[in-house]
């Protein structure tokens, strides 16, 4: 089922060159999408457009059958956005839940309790006395407990310490079900390894890649080699620590695991080849 459909999106900041021009994107329910891109690629802007916080100049944006720009309560009840930076009201966790949970009809108190226990947060704590990472963990717990259909997380692991990053992965995996969709935008691709699938790569306002891991493994393979030998099948190669990581067309149906960093670099540096290889899937 299509959850998000964006067509011919045009968006620019002021009179600058459009950030998005004729952008198209279709996302389905039941996935944890990873949205990757360089700084300034437009990831946060795209997420804000999907959430109804920014209004496109033209084009159609449909999220769960709603027009996000209407910001209707029935739409907002089913979308939870956790931005990279945020500001919380001055009240305790207990009060926040008391005053805000009632706006989300599917909010689960038990789920919230289990998440804050996982993150070791105290319900009586004042929000403003929490560290940035703790605030983020609280908001994540609250957002997941709303049971909203679409959860948008912008750089969710920024500011989290190492144990919290694995707690984050555990909590997100636990909160995931077939009716839910996550969009996680991140620079910290290593934190998301094994969690996000499919991968969307945004570059210069354009979706240059939108594929699931199965399709990636089927079409691309990754090998290590001490020397670099150019071949027509080679899509991308990068050197490091005395060896080369070579990404090539998977014509022998071998099963290799490509990490997100290599995939990202391949998509960014060999846009045309990647487009050719995956165009049949569009």
């Amino acid at each position: 089922m299509k959850l998000i459909e964006i067509s011919d999106l045009l968006y620019s900041y002021g009179s600058k060159k459009p950030l998005f021009d004729q952008l198209k994107l279709k996302l389905e329910t039941g996935n944890i999408y990873g949205l990757l891109g360089k700084n300034g690629a437009g990831k946060s802007t795209l997420l804000k457009i999907i959430s109804g916080l920014l209004f496109p100049e033209s084009g159609d944006v449909s999220v769960m059958g709603h027009r996000p720009i209407d910001r209707s309560p029935s739409f907002l009840q089913d979308v939870f956005l956790l931005t990279e930076e945020f500001e919380l009201p001055s009240m305790s966790i207990k009060r926040y839940v008391q005053f805000y949970a009632c706006f989300y009809p599917k909010f689960s108190e038990e789920l919230f309790q289990s998440f804050i226990e996982e993150f070791k947060l105290d319900r009586s704590a004042e929000l403003n006395s929490l560290s940035y990472g703790q605030k983020k963990k609280f908001l994540l717990s609250f957002g997941l407990a709303t049971n909203s259909q679409l959860v948008i997380l912008d750089e969710p692991t920024n500011g989290l310490d190492i144990p919290s990053k694995s707690q984050f992965r555990k909590v997100v995996a636990r909160a995931m079900d077939n009716d839910r969709t996550f969009i996680i935008s991140t620079h910290q691709v290593r934190d998301m390894e094994g969690l996000i699938d499919p991968i969307i790569i945004l570059d210069e306002g354009e979706i240059i890649f939108n594929e699931g891991s199965e399709s990636i493994t089927k079409k691309l393979k990754v090998t290590k080699s001490a020397s670099l030998v150019e071949s027509p099948d080679m899509v991308y190669a990068e050197g490091g620590f005395g060896s080369y990581t070579i990404v090539s067309i998977n014509d022998d149906h071998s099963e290799t695991n490509m990490n997100l960093e290599t995939l990202f670099n391949t998509a960014i540096n060999s846009k045309e080849r990647i487009h050719e290889i995956f165009k049949g899937d569009e």
């Binding site: 109804g52 916080l53 920014l54 209004f55 910001r71 309560p73 956005l81 500001e87 009201p89 706006f103």
Partner: protein, 251 residues
């Protein structure tokens, strides 16, 4: 589900707003009544030694000033991007957002302030009698003609500050005041230059008490129209524009 207005959702939002703004409202009330008591009441009686002291003038100025300040803060959550995101993502309609803040800053303020002022006057009068026995202190009547007229004036003007709150970010009150002066200046100039020929040619002041110019202007259709617009159109217009301003907010 009604996406425009739902009474239960509206009530939850109002409770949230009251809880979040409780400290700010308390501060404004404390400052207002502190100033009224020590400056508007004690100091003025001490300096002027009036035969009778009437609270009505203080009521008028404090109701208007306090209300305009509170109205300017109505949408303060949209001042900063990060706060705005939380505010706009809350599952509540723009109409509910607007009606809630309109109710709290217009009717809500009128009721709360008038009750508080009546209680304040009841407490202040015996204290005044004790300290200044030569002055008689009039009982404040919240239903008196001036009080009622002030309430109507507040409802008519308050929307301007709500409009400022919906469109301006940070320093809303001074920005709104400057805008009012600029608009009034422009309207005044336009009226002066478009009507001066007609008035200055046909009318003149004979004595100070009998000024044909003023009398003539008071029966001129432009004056009637201006009065009608002020009392009946200004408030609804500013409310509608404030609602649109809120609806068009982006983060």
């Amino acid at each position: 589900m009604n996406n425009q207005f739902d009474i239960s959702r509206f009530w939850k939002f109002m409770k949230l707003q009251l809880f979040k703004n409780r400290k700010g409202v308390f501060m404004i009330m404390a400052i207002t009544f502190g100033m009224l008591f020590f400056v508007g009441f004690m100091l003025s009686v001490f300096l002027e030694h009036p035969e009778a002291y009437d609270h009505t003038e203080s009521y008028v100025s404090a109701l208007l000033m306090g209300g305009f300040i509170i109205s300017s803060l109505a949408f303060s959550e949209t001042d900063r991007v990060l706060k705005r995101i939380g505010y706009l993502m809350l599952p509540i309609s723009n109409l509910e957002r607007f009606i809630c803040m309109w109710l709290l800053t217009s009717i809500g303020w009128l009721i709360v302030f008038t009750i508080s002022f009546t209680i304040y006057a009841l407490i202040a009068n015996p204290i005044g009698n004790l300290i200044f026995p030569a002055t008689s202190f009039k009982v404040f009547n919240p239903f008196g003609a001036i009080a009622r007229q002030t309430m109507l004036l507040y409802v008519a003007l308050q929307g301007i500050f709500l409009l400022g709150a919906a469109y301006f970010r940070k320093y809303v009150l001074p920005k709104t005041m400057i805008s009012i002066f600029i608009i009034l200046g422009i309207v005044g100039l336009v009226l002066y230059f478009s009507l001066k020929e007609q008035f200055l040619a046909d009318h003149y002041c004979t004595t100070e008490d009998e000024c044909e110019l003023v009398d003539a202007f008071a029966v001129h259709p432009v004056w009637y129209m201006a009065k009608g617009l002020f009392w009946f159109a200004l408030a609804p217009l500013t409310w509608i524009l404030s609602y649109w301003g809120l609806k068009e907010q982006e983060a």
